[in-house]
Symmetry: C2
Subunit: 446 residues, 2 copies
């Protein structure tokens, strides 16, 4: 499928959907209820997810509380890959999610919660699931649990998988084969490649650029391609080795004096609930709302559910700098209350909806984000998980700073190569979801 053919197919899929999403009051939710004792919002099956309270304590005293989405079960985000004429292709899906700003987005082959694929809702089976589970599955190239939004989810993680198919693979409607080059090109389109696709694509080390093929365009691209190869030698006197990065990360976790736990939603202070929404009193943070969905192409064609609705657009930026001809990313060890182990590696700057440059503590970073502060290499608005969030958009940017930008950075920051970050993606709980999204964006620049 050429890229022109893709766009025609995409327009056709969008029309075929017949999707509708409408806001409803909580009491119009079907099978979802507020538990009287706790005020938690949950599904009567006990599955899917709940909206509960998150409480943060330091030295035994509460310092923060908020609503949070609790979804303990592990879903599968999986891409089937297969070689056609010697070129690896990814089987991608045109998938509708109720919270998407534009209904359908380009998604992994399989994107299913365990409740989904165990058919708690009695819908149709999940297409291609058998390639990821059970004895007949393909050759597993990637299989790792990765976290999702620590500001909105309670310790959520999904199973990111890539399997290589060798035999014939049937092609159902809503699915298409795309090469890595095509996907990189589509990553340059706003709100097209969805969050679940971006995280799986970031975990594919065998898709990284080859120095011999890609170098020689200009200084930035050469440094970028080298960044995918460069791994510091593991001797004690070299700065920036994998060992030092791990120690830096451990140190950042040790600095956290807080701990988080689930509490009843009714115990969250400073938030209130009416017929239509759960909101903080200042109306500055997100809201929990309810929607009714009709979708012809989903396992279940009509349902109601709660969604988390952020007020406005977030912004996530990696500052990058060439050092000795190798591009380094400025990585932040970022604490987030909903993360399983408190801290993960994050973009240099991540502003939540409603935050601005004034919320950035480090002045050198603020300056780099001002007009003229650096060279913008990537700048697109992409969507977060449309199955749980309503119109959650983030502006993702890669900005190159020049040699005036200090190499000596505060302890919460660390310079790393793309290769060093990619090596850590074999393991969970290192790179947060925004960092993984941006790594996929960065790869589109090669």
């Amino acid at each position: 499928m050429s890229t022109t053919e893709f766009h025609a197919w995409w327009a056709e899929r969008r029309q075929a959907g017949g999707f509708s999403v409408e806001r409803i009051p909580f009491d119009a939710l079907d099978s979802w209820n507020f538990e009287p004792r706790t005020g938690n919002l949950g599904h009567e099956s006990g599955r899917f997810f709940t909206v509960e309270g998150l409480q943060v304590r330091e030295g035994g005293a509460e310092i923060w509380s908020q609503p949070v989405i609790n979804q303990p079960e592990i879903g599968i985000l999986g891409i089937v890959v297969k070689e056609f004429d010697g070129v690896l292709h990814c089987l991608m899906q045109a998938k509708m999610e109720p919270g998407n700003a534009n209904t359908i987005q380009l998604s992994p082959t399989v994107q299913a919660t365990r409740s989904n694929y165990m058919k708690v809702h009695r819908g149709a089976g999940t297409r291609y699931l058998e390639y990821f589970t059970g004895p007949q599955r393909g050759q597993v190239l990637v299989d790792v649990l990765q976290s999702e939004q620590g500001a909105w989810f309670w310790r959520k993680r999904n199973r990111n998988m890539v399997v290589l198919a060798t035999g014939d693979v049937p092609l159902y409607e809503d699915f298409c084969w795309l090469t890595m080059d095509q996907i990189r090109e589509l990553t340059m389109v706003d709100n097209l490649v969805n969050m679940d696709a971006r995280t799986v694509l970031s975990c594919m080390p065998f898709m990284l650029p080859d120095e011999a093929e890609s170098a020689g365009r200009d200084a930035f691209h050469d440094a970028l391609v080298r960044s995918y190869q460069y791994q510091a030698a593991e001797d004690l006197d070299t700065p920036g080795t994998a060992g030092r990065i791990l120690s830096w990360f451990t140190e950042a976790k040790t600095r956290c004096d807080w701990s988080a736990r689930l509490v009843p939603l009714a115990d969250v202070t400073g938030w209130r609930r009416d017929e239509w929404e759960i909101t903080d009193d200042a109306a500055e943070n997100f809201r929990i709302i309810a929607v009714r969905v009709a979708a012809g192409t989903r396992e279940v064609t009509r349902w109601t559910q709660p969604l988390l609705h952020p007020r406005g657009e977030g912004r996530a930026v990696f500052l990058v700098r060439s050092v000795g001809g190798v591009l380094r990313l400025l990585v932040r060890a970022r604490p987030e209350y909903g993360l399983l182990d408190q801290v993960e590696m994050a973009p240099t700057v991540h502003l939540h909806p409603g935050q601005g440059l004034a919320d950035i503590q480090e002045s050198c970073l603020r300056d780099a984000l001002l007009p003229g502060g650096g060279t913008t290499r990537y700048d697109h608005v992409l969507s977060e998980e449309g199955g749980r969030f309503h119109h959650a958009l983030t502006r993702y940017q890669v900005i190159e700073v020049n040699e005036d930008f200090p190499l000596d950075v505060p302890p919460q920051l660390c310079w790393m190569t793309a290769r060093q970050l990619t090596d850590l993606l074999r393991h969970g709980h290192y790179l947060n979801i925004e960092a993984r999204s941006l790594l996929t964006c960065l790869l589109s620049l090669c």
Copy 2:
């Protein structure tokens, strides 16, 4: 210090202590109280640890609850190493812990909770702490967060560190320099090398045996030494690669349909509290008790605290088998309710106090543990954390099975080399505390 000199010094340190530990009723605890609303037992500073409730849910319904020790702060378990005459030595400590069956045990250079070293209790400073924190610290060789007992702790982890000192290091009383060979020998003594020392010692890849030096004794020792070198090539058709091991581990986590959370201790069902203890109604599980401690050589010389008291001795066994001249360990992906990410890699068999062979589900494992079922290579009783547990003893065993033992094992088990396990110890949340203890025991067999 020769080993003979060590034992003389050790006897002298034991006499010098002047330790006493006596059981007291809860209301004789100083600064520890049961919170009226929750029934949780905590220190009035809000620091150290609390005894709370742990609740496990599946599909929204409670399936298990128990008391649990919650200690969110991250402590340091650190060993200073230094070369003398070309041989690396570890600075070890004769440290008293109130729950130790024999008062003092061989401990890391530093073993301190954050409350401890931040001096919440206003005691003396922690010796050698400056080698692990702050700008003057030594060269960091190991720095990783590792978990502790998932059956008794709520998501506890400590910072396992090894630093290389280059300048002069003062030697205080209660401390001694030992070579790795000496420590291996002492690991063969019951209840001597403490849990904190064992976990740090397991994370030292630079101390692994060298094939050239160690081989040629007999088939078992040759296979053992090779096990520290062997790493399967990363191609798709080789079984037992690191990639396949990680996928096996991810799969095991996905099978967990339960989730755990903290609840008020008062909400734990089937347990009760009297003046002297918190116990399950059947008196089969552990008890929470209180003690008064006097210790001349600790930062604070008198205090009271709660302890968790298991009823009897646990047992942890690695079955090992030579495959193609390389020793493999049979590793279990073991779910434990208190673990941060639900599942870690554990010994082949781990029986809690009160459990017996009949509690082992897999018949081939039961048979191997019967008399004559295998060749016992290591068999010693070692202590668990004496700062939180009262007389918690575990019988650690390494048992070699012969070529009749099946290589094809159930999905919760996986054959791995010592090298593959050691490689994972760079990261936290892979090997549980019993597996790490047994790796240190295994190393003593080289």
